[in-house]
Symmetry: C2
């Protein structure tokens, strides 16, 4: 088994997170794997909690993803159940039945509508989630809440992990109509032991009062600039899920449209929170030793800029060059060229850190290699590309490709 010591890119400590009014957390041990740890997370949500979500575009999604997509249409939530250690993906009718059993157990306890229960699972593909274990775990979690024993954010962030090397969370506040509201998020992803599938699951909780339709628009907009801008290996999970829950307990003037007082502030806080969470996933990328920020400007439009930035971010040759601390800008040229978007070789400029290394279609003669070499020895690597064509820009985040990635994913047999 691969060595899964804490990523060198992890933050120094878990952040201090306040409680979010309207959210009660519990964790339990369903026993999905032979792990000596909790693996089921329950978030009980106040009646009237608004919900929004973004889900994997995979054509082979898990039944949990199918269910969330269906339930999101109703816009309210009373519970979130997260299973770690088994993704329940590609398990046919038995996987679907397992999800239904979880829904039924929650509905029975809370007396809510089925569509108010959200479920996400992460772990091995192809093994149906054991219904008895899921039900027993959920019952135990509800019992803890009934006894007044709630879990911390750190408990929850740790319980949703699979082979992540550190628990990930973040918090922001925004002022909405004079009232300060809190947005807290937890996320997991990118640590993995074969044959588990790296799944990104993110959950955001706020005490703000937000209409479901607006919450969905805000989350979708934030997603475009955050979760959709990260990559570890270009492989998309069957189970990726980000859900946002707004309990409304803060008592702010309701946010029900983009023109509501505080909507801009809330959106900014949400996007900032999502960016931090997304970047933490990259910082726990399999085998990652360096965190790479790729900023593309001068593209035809923002969409083209993102396609080009992701082509660079996913290139094994660029990622291995960064691992080798090699200012190999030729590989960046290669990745720009293969992206398929408009590019003009003879207008292209590339920088590492703040040093321009290539422009106007050729190397900058006699650029100072000293700051470039120093930059590449660091943990945080900046690559800038200017296409010189238009106003389109995008920033994406990736990590290097190292022997650690191969060790985690190949030097292990299922």
């Amino acid at each position: 088994m691969a060595d899964l010591t804490r990523s060198p890119l992890a933050p120094d400590r878990f952040p201090e997170l306040p409680e979010v009014a309207g959210v009660r957390l519990a964790v339990a041990r369903a026993g999905y794997k032979a792990w000596d740890r909790t693996d089921l997370t329950l978030a009980e949500l106040a009646p009237g909690t608004a919900v929004a979500g973004v889900l994997t575009k995979s054509k082979c999604p898990s039944p949990e993803v199918d269910w969330c997509r269906q339930a999101l249409a109703h816009g309210t939530a009373r519970a979130l159940v997260v299973n770690a250690g088994n993704s329940n993906a590609f398990t046919g009718g038995r996987g679907k039945a397992a999800v239904e059993a979880v829904l039924a157990a929650a509905v029975e306890t809370l007396g809510c509508a089925e569509t108010e229960v959200f479920v996400a699972s992460t772990g091995v593909i192809g093994v149906p989630l054991p219904t008895d274990k899921a039900r027993a775990g959920l019952t135990a979690a509800f019992a803890k809440l009934k006894a007044g024993s709630t879990a911390t954010w750190e408990d929850a962030a740790a319980t949703i992990m699979t082979t992540d090397t550190f628990p990930k969370a973040s918090v922001r506040t925004a002022v909405v109509g004079g009232q300060t509201v809190t947005l807290t998020g937890i996320i997991k992803g990118s640590g993995m032991i074969a044959p588990d599938m790296a799944t990104m699951l993110g959950f955001i909780f706020t005490d703000a009062k937000v209409a479901p339709a607006l919450l969905q628009e805000m989350l979708s907009a934030a997603n475009e600039q955050t979760y959709s801008c990260i990559t570890v290996d270009g492989d998309t999970s069957t189970s990726d899920t980000v859900l946002a829950f707004a309990t409304g307990a803060a008592g702010n003037t309701p946010l029900d449209g983009w023109t509501s007082a505080g909507a801009d502030a809330f959106q900014a806080a949400l996007t900032d929170l999502c960016r931090d969470l997304a970047q933490q996933v990259v910082r726990d990328g399999e085998g990652a030793q360096k965190f790479i920020t790729i900023a593309v400007e001068g593209a035809e439009d923002d969409r083209a800029a993102r396609v080009i930035a992701l082509a660079i971010a996913n290139s094994p040759l660029v990622k291995t060059a960064i691992a080798g601390e090699d200012a190999n800008w030729g590989r960046v040229v290669m990745a720009v060229g293969k992206a398929g978007e408009a590019a003009d070789r003879d207008r292209l400029a590339i920088r590492f850190g703040t040093t321009l290394v290539a422009k106007d279609g050729l190397a900058v003669e006699d650029y100072d290699e000293t700051p470039v070499a120093a930059h590449l020895k660091g943990r945080d690597i900046d690559i800038g590309v200017d296409l010189g064509l238009g106003e389109g820009r995008a920033t994406v985040w990736s990590c290097d490709l190292t022997h650690g990635y191969i060790s985690i994913n190949a030097d292990y047999r299922s």
Copy 2:
């Protein structure tokens, strides 16, 4: 520097190749790198030789690629010059001038049109090809031909290599209007030391008489099923080039359209030759320990099948699973799901070797793991996917992703 011993997937020996009437080969040492080996290859072609080509779709192509695209419009060739050790890509006006110098030297010797001279270069990106070295090398090569000293196919196949671990060639014959014609090809690609860019260069020579327009159609059609169906790491070179030359010296009834006698036989031989050459590139993939054939059927159409097959072939998670001899079909499901083409999870079937491991959206219960494990221990791995939707099918070839890939591309500093 990475260890570049001969790939374990290499053929046992270099094939026996006959001379192709109308083609004379010479190799020389231009000295592009501090290599103790020849690095410039010249093929002199009989007057009236037809030419066709397929070139990289990169938006940042080398000036050699730009030139070949322009010259191909004229349809005839008298010389091919291949430089190894320097791709001359992303070198602005100086790179263009270097190509022009090579053209001028060949035109002066042969008295041909400039558009009859084809040039390809492979190696480091961003360093202009040294004009003096190129010219001196080419002069030396022409001098050898004048002295009646020609090189062998193996000499040529070895001289176009960069960090390939074995020279690659193949031969086929076809009967055209009662006359047997020969098709011989050499190719390089996929071995690499950073910061060199892996470039695939392939050259096919036939003594058949083929009209340029038909030769182009035939090469393009063969390309779709061969070179466009291989991948080592999903990174597309700035310099990929395949050129086909038909000298006409065999004296066959000319092939000038698809209905010409022997056109089908010629096309079949050409495609078969290209497939062999393309597969040899994968067998020399960086760090490759296993050769993977991925056959997708039941897709909406052939195009969709190829997109899905390439998504599997390029997935780092699938490639590391094969490296780990792990029958991790969940990662195949993941790759099908992310490809973006139509797929129905609940109709999907997957096999490793001849053993069906998943069908109808879930694992085949109690399939025999013994033959699967034995298959995965071998050098040649077959993955089959049936989408169950339509008649579309495609086969692509890839290799596994190993520590060797990281060593070659990261454990080395430019």
